[in-house]
Symmetry: C2
């Protein structure tokens, strides 16, 4: 059986079909909540080594597919690989998250080289090719990247932060030089996403994890517009590329990402109702079960999934969480979620 | 000259008047960005000692009024004093924020005593009385508390957290026992707010700082409904009490707080446009300048303030930030903000 995109439920919905049952995959579906992942993870020293070692990344990508039969695999990687490929010196410290050499001014930006991103990330595309060859023909493969603002915020801050204040101050106070950083990221992100499609990814997701740190004016300038440029850049090489945007924390302005970026679909976060006002009925939505509900399980999980599917009936919709799977999640609850989707969604 | 509430611009707007210029005050207007605050702060060992020592708390409350002539003073205190008065053992560690003895189950809740909150917080009301006597007659005095969900989240987590996952898990997985905790907090918060009004506060603000950690279902149950009960409880003793609710991160659901809690006004966070859809024109709004703009200053500050005032023209509106003043803020930028409000708003 050949792998025709038309057979893949996720791609049909991303093109606007409403399916019963809807396709289901989960952000961070490969990860620490799975014992087989923890065993695999112990084989590499650093987290980036793990991402850059195809045999390990391939296996991590496939683990949740084997266990749960989800409708899509998402490449096992990280949103900071583009920063790393630009030369930002990314490292992951146990229990502390990512640490980068902070970008503190124009001189640091000049040293970032966006022309070699795809070359430096070659092992990632090797992973994509290998996964592609191993996936069942009905399972879609999702490539991804961080949106430019989110990656820029990490690069300026040098680490995670509650409010990414230094990045916001720079973006507001010196927009000319901040634009240089965002431009490098737009270029590097387009290259990285195109290379994933070239290697066999069926569709893409852009994670704007820190959309909530922006105000309405900076959102247009540093989030909406760079995402629009990334999508436009990818489609110049891959016309019609299917790209989901996940603007976490954008709140009232979530709809702007649907209307102004060219996104194929919008991921809705946990805080925002799936029935948010101001979106056309034809907008493809993805989300947004609370990851804490997946931890609790039981009747709460059953009822929450049934309600989501009921609310989205007749709309193009992809079941997912409103944020990533957390390590405390019992794997059997993910199995139950998939079973519920297939049962409820089947009518 | 007696202190007639009718002379206070803030109170007139909270009752629905649209004023030119609009009143202005700032969340965390007393704090580390002021050199006189840092000098004062060094006189007490712990942060709670500082809050509980009337001569220090009075002085901290008054410092920004003297320097900037703001339209309102907000009591210098902390949202965790109610948790402390319930017996949660709150401490503040330098550079780490609050640390509490975590509430981990029903046994811990049983030990919390909401009947003695006002007695234990007597020094806070002494501060309110002293500030009241020292304020100019046109300057309003704002009392405040954390909303029950936000304080509960700190109590369960035992510290600050990015996503307050333990609190969410408890609230979702064992709502019966979580309700006990919220009930104690509703009682303690009503007592604390009433005591502030009794001591001379003109109006109140409830800080729901972690509204963004909730999903739509838990928002109704654990944020909207407890806030509604707090407001109802306060007004049983103080009919017509003016109470602003600040639901930070509520996004698309910000309007629910206007429609369903009985709030006199809604504080809008930095992420949300002041012109958010779904609010009646008569809703009193407060906010929402990005604190990073106040740090940057210059033309950006001038233009942002002018735009806010223009957008809110003809509506009952209170100038404020969308989050607290940050320590990096140059005090002269706050002075400039007040000058701009008085000048633009007067035109």
């Amino acid at each position: 059986m050949t792998s025709l995109p038309a057979n893949k439920a996720l791609l049909r919905v991303l093109r606007g079909d409403s399916l019963q049952p809807p396709p289901v995959w989960l952000m961070r579906q490969a990860g620490r909540y799975l014992p087989e992942y923890r065993a695999l993870r112990s084989k590499a020293s650093g987290f980036l080594d793990f991402c850059y070692t195809p045999e390990l990344a391939v296996e991590a990508t496939l683990q949740p597919i084997r266990r749960f039969g989800l409708d899509a695999a998402i490449l096992f990687s990280d949103i900071l690989v583009v920063a790393d490929a630009l030369g930002a010196g990314v490292a992951f410290r146990e229990g502390e998250g990512p640490v980068l050499e902070p970008v503190t001014g124009p001189g640091d930006i000049d040293r970032l080289d966006s022309s070699r991103v795809a070359e430096r990330l070659a092992p990632v595309y090797e992973t994509v090719r290998a996964v592609r060859a191993l996936l069942p023909p009905t399972t879609a493969l999702i490539g991804f990247a961080g949106a430019p603002w989110t990656v820029a915020a990490y690069m300026v801050e040098g680490r995670t932060s509650r409010d990414f204040f230094e990045a916001r101050r720079w973006a507001l106070g010196n927009p000319e030089s901040f634009r240089q950083l965002v431009d490098r990221l737009v270029e590097g992100t387009v290259a990285h996403l195109c290379a994933q499609l070239d290697a066999g990814a069926d569709c893409l997701q852009l994670f704007e994890s820190w959309a909530g740190a922006l105000n309405p004016a900076t959102r247009r300038l540093w989030s909406i517009e760079p995402i629009r440029r990334v999508i436009e850049g990818v489609r110049r090489k891959h016309p019609g590329a299917l790209i989901t945007v996940f603007p976490r924390g954008a709140g009232v302005e979530t709809g702007l990402y649907a209307r102004e970026t060219g996104a194929s679909a919008i991921g809705i976060d946990t805080t925002t109702p799936l029935t948010l006002p101001g979106l056309p009925k034809k907008t493809v939505l993805q989300g947004n079960l609370d990851p804490a509900i997946l931890v609790v399980g039981g009747d709460l999980l059953d009822e929450s999934v049934a309600a989501m599917i009921r609310d989205m009936q007749g709309r193009p919709y992809i079941v997912n969480l409103g944020h990533g799977v957390v390590p405390e999640t019992p794997p059997e609850h993910v199995g139950r979620l998939v079973e519920l989707v297939r049962r409820n969604g089947g009518g």
